[in-house]
Amino acid sequence: MSRKQTPLRPYFERMPDIGKPLSEAELRRSKENLDLVREQQAILAKENERVRNAGIPAAKIHERGGMTIYDRLDYLVDEGTWNPLHTLYNPQDNEEGCTGVVNGIGKIEGKWAVIIGFDNKVMAGAWIAGQSENILMVTDMAKRLNVPLVWLTNCSGVKLMEQETVYAGRRSSGAPFFRHADLNHLGIPILNGIYGTNPAGGGYQGISPTILIAHEGANIAVGGAGIVGGMNPKGHIDAEAARALIDATKGFKAKDPGRVETHFDKTAYFREVHDSEKGVLDGIKDYMRMMPAFDPTMFRVAAPAEPKFPASDLDLILPANQKRTYDAVQVLARLTDKSEFMEYRPDYGREVFTGIAKIDGFPVAFIGNRQGVFPDYPEYAKGAYPAVGGKHYRQGLIKQGEFVTLCGRDNLPIVWLQDTTGIDVGDLAEEAELLALGQSLVYSIEQTELSMMCVVLRKGTAAAHYIMCGPQANNNNAFTLGTPLTEIYVMHGETAAAASYARRLVKEEEAGRDISPILDKMNQMIQDYQDKSRPAYCAKKGFVDEIVSLTDLRKYIQAFTGANYQNPKSITPVHQMLLPRIIKG
């Protein structure tokens, strides 16, 4: 008789329970909170819809017999696995209302991939401001997670009226070609479905991936056929030059260069050509089946299981009132398999929790801020003040550094659940070495080879937003999510207004002058901080990679985890892991 089991079963099959059902009282008093969450969700849904409708109407593409980028994604991606990213990203406030690319992480033929395509409704997929940064975030993610990058190219090249916003510079629209070269060099395949006319930048977008699959009407070329005039010796356009241009354009009959007749029939760059748009996507699916992926059984430590408590509770647990405390472990209990968590050093550095949980049966590390007040802590304050959750103190920083280092050794991907107001300040905090310990945590993160994802549950503030693997952790952070309750700023608006105007207030008062103009400025500043820290603004500016509803958090964590374990570059045999043994003692 054969017998099989998951590894280190005594540690992982049954881990300590966390969380509890919401009480009647909690349910009663959370109704208002639910309204506030839904209010933000409605704002975000409206914004998402605006981006989806950017450019020409989808009906026009359909009338031409074509598919929009959203149609292509719907056909390509396995049902229920799409996790969009950067939807509202538009850091330079383009008139198009978006950056012209649509991306996210999803499964194709059962395998995770980072997927990106040009929005062919928006200037036929032109290069527009902010787009290259969006693409670079996506190429970084494929590199971090070591999963294929799938492109749906349909790129008309530079928006010529605004070339200065896209063409030149270190992180401009040419940089993705080098990123594609980097991914290829690292052994990360890039599959490219090519549609439409792709001249110049579009041509390099077409040629730079690993596998090229074209629609029959597609082309890729160094330059387009549309540039009918050469240099005008006059240096300006007068009536005579305009006449010549009109005549040349009317007489212009040339086809686009780099068509299928060239790049399939002659150069053989294109592996496949399809006479239907769906055929191209079927070609990508065929190649996705060839992509390297371990069976999940290789790395699972238990059978996948849902949390014991409903995700809908999250809208009731996380207070919209940013000054309200809550039980962060109740949040964690709505995210992990069977609501279990094996906590590392619970009695040390109590302001943060660190430990191992399971997501879809895979081991995953979690680190998060606890909330509330911690009497008789931090130890270095000797009772001068109590610790408050959301802040970081000496023990918590040391614990996080230790834990991250051990996760690096055990190859455990980390999910950070941030709701932080900063690191403790003052002479006692400096003597307790908090400045160095914060940076030490940054070092601990960077020296691992781990993928991490960050969720800013509510507040991401001060340097604490950085040290808890915010998006600044360029080499480790795969992506960062916000929620309908996220606020990200260097400090609270009231604190900033006080810091900026306190001396001025003293001066005005001592001079016997009216202080109300200063108060107006302070209140304006507070309002400005509020406006520029809300979820939609955070998404637009790229402070986070996406704002997701609290009920969708686990879905993104599942995607992160599944992608991480699909084809890892480094493996720690589960039976050789140290952390579970250290936790058990």
Binding site: R29, K323, V373, P375, P386
Partner: protein
Amino acid sequence: MSIEVAAPMQGKVLEILVKVGDRVSYEDELMLLEALKMENPIYAPADGKVVEIKVSLGATVEAEQVLIVLE
């Protein structure tokens, strides 16, 4: 049997959410204490009736100071 509800930390009484005579259930919010810029709810430790409120709005209270008595 009376139950004394005490302040878990030093703070300022920001809001009193019940009045004498109210019936409350386990984990109902009785009061909000502002401490360290955060609003900290004080919950009912059991079902009961509010028989005495020993602090006033805006008062500064010490840790362990009795805030409310339930019966």
